[in-house]
């Protein structure tokens, strides 16, 4: 087995650990006094965590020059989408009891729901076009441009979290800080690259 395949298995299994422990606790009745709130909050938190980890891949690869990191990015992004889907599911299932009408009314009534929903739906086209086939179909440049939507989705996710806390904003601020760092590092890396061109033209003698 190739190294990268092994790394992928490690990431795949590790990313399932939170889901496994959550399910186990649920089965054991150990999610605490308010299981629905716990599931909603934890899946939401995991969505943000996976978004940030997947956004960390590119800067990390450029700084460390460990090229194979890029091959883990799709899986991490899809896990963000997966936990985001579970997050949405707990809301539509327990909070709205699968009532579409009341869900739509709630989107109007609660702006933070609208922001969260919008951010999730931004991830849908990215999940669909995450395959090799779609990269080919769209062409690398167009594909990359489309996938810049993840910046908007991540920012939306952090704002969604920030909007719903009662008074303690420390955790959403931390998420916002890490996101700003990851997006900022892209700008810095780009600028450094422009300053040190890789090919220098040798003037004719």
């Amino acid at each position: 087995m190739k190294e990268i395949k092994f790394y992928k298995i490690v990431v795949f299994i590790n990313s399932l650990v939170p889901l496994a422990l959550m399910s186990w606790d649920w089965y054991q009745g150990k999610l605490g006094a308010n299981p629905v709130e716990f599931l909603t909050r934890t899946t939401g938190m995991l969505t943000l965590v996976f978004l940030l980890i997947s956004l960390a891949v590119t800067p990390l690869r450029k700084i460390t020059s460990v090229q194979w990191l890029i091959q883990l990015r799709r899986m991490l992004g899809l896990y963000a989408f997966f936990y985001g889907f579970l997050h949405l599911l707990t809301y539509i299932w327990f909070d709205r009891t699968f009532n579409i009408k009341s869900t739509i009314a709630d989107i109007y009534a609660r702006p933070f729901i609208a922001v969260g929903m919008f951010s999730f739906f931004l991830l849908v086209p990215l999940a669909i076009t995450s395959t090799k086939g779609w990269i080919k179909r769209l062409g690398g440049k167009r594909w990359a441009r489309l996938h810049k939507l993840v910046y908007v989705a991540a920012a939306g996710g952090v704002i969604h979290f920030w909007m719903l806390v009662k008074s303690d904003t420390r955790l959403p601020i931390r998420f916002a800080f890490v996101l700003a760092l990851l997006l900022g590092s892209r700008i810095v890396i780009k600028q450094l690259k422009q300053k040190t061109p890789t090919r220098t033209l040798i003037p004719p003698a």
């Binding site: 298995i9 650990v17 422990l21 006094a33 308010n34 709130e37 716990f38 327990f94 609660r110 008074s167």
Partner: protein, 328 residues
């Protein structure tokens, strides 16, 4: 001429391919296991399992209300009690931590003796009560109340306490007194979140005098027949069952009778979200979420929230003529 040099490594010392591959598989297995364990550990760090139950001291001589007048007076409610474990492991008490699941653990060693409560302001007989004297003002009664949190969840709790009006008549409010202000202990050493945190400390709350005098309004020192655990507001707290939970201030050290409507912590923090009255009202939404329904702890679905949390018959007349949309 070909001279055959002896190999540097004897062929017997070369690891056979099969063994080498086995070793690699073993290392990979170990790495996978170790990383999985680390991730699991990290998850548990953020989502600690609930603390084991701490047995509280039993309160002696708790009077049960007479069944027939209890229901009509609102002193008891015929609904399933929320388990002790849930009442004591899911708390909003920002002086300790803003994580409801962690309050029990953080407040575990909160010492509540000695404890005094100063009753002052517009009263004829101001007094600093030692807690044990305060608890002798009136017989301790069991009061089974609904509790509705402004966040949208609710419980049914068997409190132990007595009507606040017993204490107020003991100090004799003057005719100028119109409001009552309450204050929580300020002690950042014992209440760690007071060293910073997101609210102004000490926590203050207030009631109109007629609300404070209503027999449903109690000072509680216990639940389920035991002394109040720290996370639920030990050693003494207010319980006003028809208002959102944050009005029922915990760990009280000061009660002051005043002329003008006093400051209250959440109202100071966001006056458009938390009104002075904060009566439970399914028709007036919090600006960021609906108050029409609630999650009863222990149930998966949602139930309708009741006007005045189901205490309209007892307290509705306190608010006749008032616009509850304005005075939310």
């Amino acid at each position: 001429m070909l001279i055959k040099k002896p190999d540097d490594i004897k062929s017997s010392e070369i690891t056979p391919k099969k063994v080498y591959l086995n070793r690699r598989t073993f290392m990979r297995g170990a790495a996978l296991l170790a990383s999985t364990a680390a991730t699991g550990f990290l998850y548990r760090e953020f989502n600690a399992p609930p603390q084991p139950r701490v047995e509280g001291a039993k309160l002696a001589e708790v009077v049960k209300p007479e069944a027939k007048d209890a229901a009509a007076s609102g002193f008891t409610v015929n609904e399933e009690l929320t388990p002790f474990e849930d009442i004591t492991s899911y708390n909003n008490f920002y002086e300790f931590t803003t994580d409801k699941r962690d309050v029990a653990g953080v407040s575990r060693n909160f010492i509540t003796r000695p404890w005094t409560v100063a009753v002052e302001g517009l009263v004829n007989k101001p007094k600093i009560y030692d807690l044990d004297d305060l608890l002798k003002i009136a017989p301790l009664e069991e009061r089974i109340y609904r509790l509705r949190c402004v966040e949208g969840w609710s419980m049914v709790i068997p409190w132990v306490g007595f009507s606040l009006n017993k204490l107020l008549s003991d100090v004799e409010p003057t005719s100028r007194a119109r409001f009552v202000q309450f204050e929580t202990l300020l002690d950042p050493k014992r209440m760690p979140e007071q060293q910073g945190g997101s609210l102004d400390w000490p926590y203050v709350e207030g009631l109109r005098l007629d609300e404070a005098m209503h027999p449903l309004t109690i000072l509680a020192s216990g639940l389920y027949g035991e002394e109040l655990p720290p996370q639920d507001g030990a050693p003494i707290r207010l319980v006003v069952p028809w208002k959102y939970g944050f009005k029922s201030i915990k760990s009280i050290v000061k009660i002051r009778l005043v002329r003008d409507q006093p400051d209250t912590t959440w109202n100071n923090y966001a006056s458009n979200e938390y009104g002075f009255y904060s009566n439970v009202n399914p028709t007036v939404d919090h600006p960021r979420w609906s108050q029409a329904r609630e999650t009863r702890i222990g149930e998966y679905g949602k139930r309708d929230t009741l006007m005045f949390n189901g205490y309209t018959e007892q307290v509705g007349q306190l608010y006749t003529g008032m616009d509850l949309r304005v005075n939310f």
